[in-house]
């Protein structure tokens, strides 16, 4: 008698890609705004980015219901921290909190693939990358989500960040300027949109620096090339 398996799963994957790049005095965090389920698009205008603390921003792809729950838990804990310590949480502190929050659900995980970006206490850019159950490390750049296998090799090629494990230690942050980094992010999302069906519509780019927080949007291809060609043929006739 074969074992009966559940037909219902508590999880779904809403797709999408996130990227974060750390600079010497800035941090760029970006995510596309498409939310899908299977082959359907639920909306073209969904923000995957959450501003957790003054100098700390999180972008998450995966199952957006779990992402929303995770964002709520973190902002509630941040509020408690502010009441108890009379200051904002630093980005490295928030990074540890996110790791613990994810691990507390080790046996029923948040289906959420996160990148955390912000400025550390010295004002340098920092990016933390996570898996679904909370293992994390500080890196110079990272991408997560459905397009990450397309984006990461390109970032490895362009940013060439030396490993933080090397001895003598070398700086992990990229020497790129803020404008170059934003340009790189736009290029990266345009490329990922070409080959990943779950990435597209718009990219939301958040830039954190000493001057504060700045947000911009860039339009991406909304349809795939085959559909465009069909639409063009239909118009002709």
């Amino acid at each position: 008698m074969t074992k009966q398996h559940a037909n219902w799963s508590p999880y779904d994957n809403n797709g999408g890609s996130c990227v974060a790049i750390a600079g010497s005095d800035y941090c760029v965090i970006a995510a596309d705004t498409r939310m899908s389920t299977g082959y359907n698009i639920l909306t073209r205008d969904y923000s995957k980015i959450s501003h957790l603390a003054e100098k700390c921003v999180m972008a998450s792809s995966g199952f957006q219901a779990d992402v929303k729950a995770l964002q709520k838990v973190l902002s509630a804990r941040h509020l408690t921290y502010q009441h108890q310590h009379n200051k904002q949480m630093s980005c490295p502190a928030m990074a540890q909190l996110l790791s613990n929050t994810l691990y507390y659900k080790r046996f029923f995980p948040y289906y959420s693939f996160n990148v955390l970006g912000g400025l550390d206490s010295e004002g340098k850019g920092c990016v933390f990358t996570y898996d679904a159950v909370g293992s994390y490390e500080r890196v110079g750049y990272s991408s997560q989500g459905s397009g990450s296998t397309l984006i990461m090799p390109f970032l490895d090629n362009q940013l060439k960040s030396p490993s933080p494990l090397l001895l003598p230690a070398q700086d992990a942050v990229t020497p790129l300027s803020e404008a170059e980094a934003v340009d790189l992010v736009k290029t990266v999302f345009a490329s990922a949109t070409e080959r990943d069906i779950y990435t597209g519509d718009k990219v939301e780019i958040v830039i954190l620096n000493a001057g504060g927080i700045h947000r911009e949007f860039m339009d991406l291809r909304k349809t795939d090339a085959f559909t465009e060609e069909c639409m063009f043929m239909i118009d002709l006739f």
Binding site: K3, H5, A6, P10, Y11, R77, T80, S99, N100, L102, Y103, Y104, K105, R106, F107, F108, P109, Y111, T129, D131, A132, V133, G134, S135, Y136, E137, V139, T149, S163, P164, L165, L166, L167
Partner: protein, 271 residues
């Protein structure tokens, strides 16, 4: 039965002893899914979590202390998710832990172990022994036996009895020993380590042996790579000795000499 000390801080922050709704507050515990088939559910989540098993870590005791080394690659199936994972975890200034298996499991429980060791110091006014620390971790992992944790770690340190090395895993096993290697690259590392090992080595010789063993494992095992880190644990605590990219180590151990044909061509093109 289950170790819930890691969770104690979380609920106490929320309720502070007086429950807002006036209900009986539940004891701290990990949330479990409402599933008839827990094993099947856990198997599926393990697939989703895809713990990084590809690794090479090693540690050995010698005359001067303990040498600990590891690679830094994390793989999810065939995809390399990171080349810069810290697999040697600094529990406290005189004890190290190595990471193999689930990255989150190792990170979380090593940090928890560091907290427990500190509490032991404060309660007993003396440092915890390596024997004691490894036992604490082994007991925690045993209490979660069968729930899908994946941890293959070595606890290395220096206490009052001298250098100490234990192997602890998520099946609940705990072994005392002088030489261990853990991970998919461990057979290759053992080959180099066992053939080159002598108890009476200097720190330089031992670190070179450790580095070579990791390099050879990364050369043959696709799931190991990145940076070979080597740490030394002595009477004054641990010290990181080296961190070398294994790609560069390859050309360090196998230098490229120009072939004779190229040399002739250079001479012909000369003045």
């Amino acid at each position: 039965m289950l170790d819930t000390t890691a969770l104690e801080s979380f609920p106490s922050l929320i309720s502070h002893g007086i429950n807002v709704a006036g209900e009986i507050s539940a004891p701290p515990s990990f949330q479990l899914p409402n599933s008839n088939d827990f094993d099947g559910f856990v198997k599926e989540t393990i697939q989703m979590v895809k713990p990084a098993k590809g690794t090479t870590t090693l540690a050995f005791i010698f005359k001067e202390g303990v040498m600990v080394a590891a690679d830094s690659r994390a793989s999810m199936g065939g995809y390399i998710s990171s080349q810069s994972v810290k697999k040697i975890i600094e529990i406290n200034p005189y004890m190290l832990g190595t990471m193999a298996g689930g990255a989150a499991d190792c990170q979380f429980w090593h940090r928890n172990l560091g907290i427990k060791c500190r509490l032991h110091e404060l309660a007993n006014k003396r440092r915890i022994s390596v024997t004691g620390a490894s036992k604490l971790l082994a007991n925690i992992l045993y209490s979660y036996r069968g729930m899908g944790l994946s941890v293959g770690t070595m606890i290395a340190g220096w206490d009052e009895t001298g250098p100490g090395l234990y192997y602890v895993d998520s099946e609940g096993g705990r072994l005392k020993g002088n030489r261990f290697s853990v991970g998919s690259g461990s057979p290759y590392a053992y080959g180099v380590l066992d053939s080159g090992y002598k108890y009476d080595m200097s720190v330089e010789e031992a670190s070179e042996l450790a580095r070579r063993a990791i390099y050879h494992a990364t050369f043959r095992d696709g799931a190991s790579g990145g940076v070979a880190s080597v740490y030394y644990v002595g009477p004054t605590g641990w010290k990181k000795l080296s961190g070398d990219d294994v790609g560069e180590l390859h050309y360090h151990y196998n230098p490229v000499t120009p072939s004779t044909v190229e040399q002739e061509m250079v001479e012909a093109a000369g003045p």
